[in-house]
Symmetry: C2
């Protein structure tokens, strides 16, 4: 099903929500429902209709904002990671801990379903990878930006590769999240404590 009267909507940048008047509450509900639906069934079980049902809103309300599953999934991923761009605690340790905590929190949401399905779907659907890949790539860029700010403050050792360091931080969080079984979760303070341990090890290294 396609939105029948797309010509009534104002011109908008591709992938951005449309429709007037915008209601942030409805959008937040839709995006939360999108995460739920995607986390449960991945791309194979994802559709605008399924998300409308899960959000408890009319299809027309949803179709007024997003016209394709790809657009909605992109918006969902963007919304989930937008807080990363706001991290700026003033210290490398603080930033890395905040970044790691946020990553672990997101991975654990929806029982890890979003992360688990995303990995498979991006491998199996090149057209989806082309849309979502850049959004997820922004996550690595934010980690690299954190490391570069640390370098400016003189907190980073010479010769360190920000790309490699951010890879190690992200993969540590992903691996840890993967150990948490379906239905289990971690308390917020345990998440922060784990992220701080990883940040400390990453900053100080293990060698004498």
């Amino acid at each position: 099903m396609q939105r029948p009267s797309a010509d009534l909507a104002p011109a908008r940048p591709q992938g951005r929500p449309r429709g007037r008047p915008r209601n942030p509450d409805v959008e937040a509900r839709i995006l939360a429902a999108a995460a739920q639906v995607y986390g449960a069934g991945g791309w194979a079980g994802f559709s605008l209709d399924a998300v409308a049902r899960a959000a408890g809103i009319g299809k027309s309300t949803l179709y007024a904002r997003w016209t394709s599953g790809e657009d909605l999934l992109c918006a969902m991923v963007e919304e989930r990671w937008q807080d990363v761009a706001r991290i700026d605690t003033g210290s490398l340790r603080g930033d890395l801990t905040a970044f790691g905590s946020l990553v672990l929190t997101r991975y654990l949401e929806t029982g890890g379903g979003v992360a688990r399905h995303m990995r498979r779907d991006l491998a199996g659907h090149p057209e989806l990878a082309a849309r979502i890949g850049p959004v997820l790539g922004a996550l690595t860029e934010q980690a690299i930006a954190i490391l570069r700010r640390g370098r400016t403050r003189g907190e980073l050792r010479e010769g360190v590769s920000p790309a490699l360091a951010s890879d190690m931080l992200l993969s540590a969080m992903e691996t840890h999240a993967g150990r948490i079984g379906p239905g289990e979760t971690m308390r917020e303070d345990a998440i922060t404590a784990y992220a701080a341990r990883v940040a400390d090890l990453l900053i100080g290294g293990i060698g004498t």
Copy 2:
């Protein structure tokens, strides 16, 4: 199909190959074929018959050694990781580089298929996880043993958690392997270089 005359075989520890005379070449061929078959189709596509076909040997030759897919898969995983136990270069950096190289090499074999399927199968088949989990757990234990040897030599900073450090090393390798697409591979020297970079970052940290 079950081996018809199991009572002719000598008593043996569970999960060990049986049959006489043992022929190491045949066993190596069977285990290589097992990795191939498992890497291509995971547990769903794994059977003694499929492995016998892939190895180009008679079913009776295979059934004389392994009577269940679980046993054969266990033996395959054990064989793939046994070199880890032999790593002992005399330095923490050398050991971590050798360990990381071996892990990355194994992950990249069969186009990453074994690692990719293993993760899903262990999550979806608790009975398989109960058999294979301990074998894979031995991998983490070897990494921890490497770090403990480093501690004895005075190469490890006080207060470092060997478990967390080994997690970070393993997950860095897994993430990097996941970036290599199907059909692609890495040259041996590139694998060693990457492992050395990770070891250096892990040992020295990123902080000033």
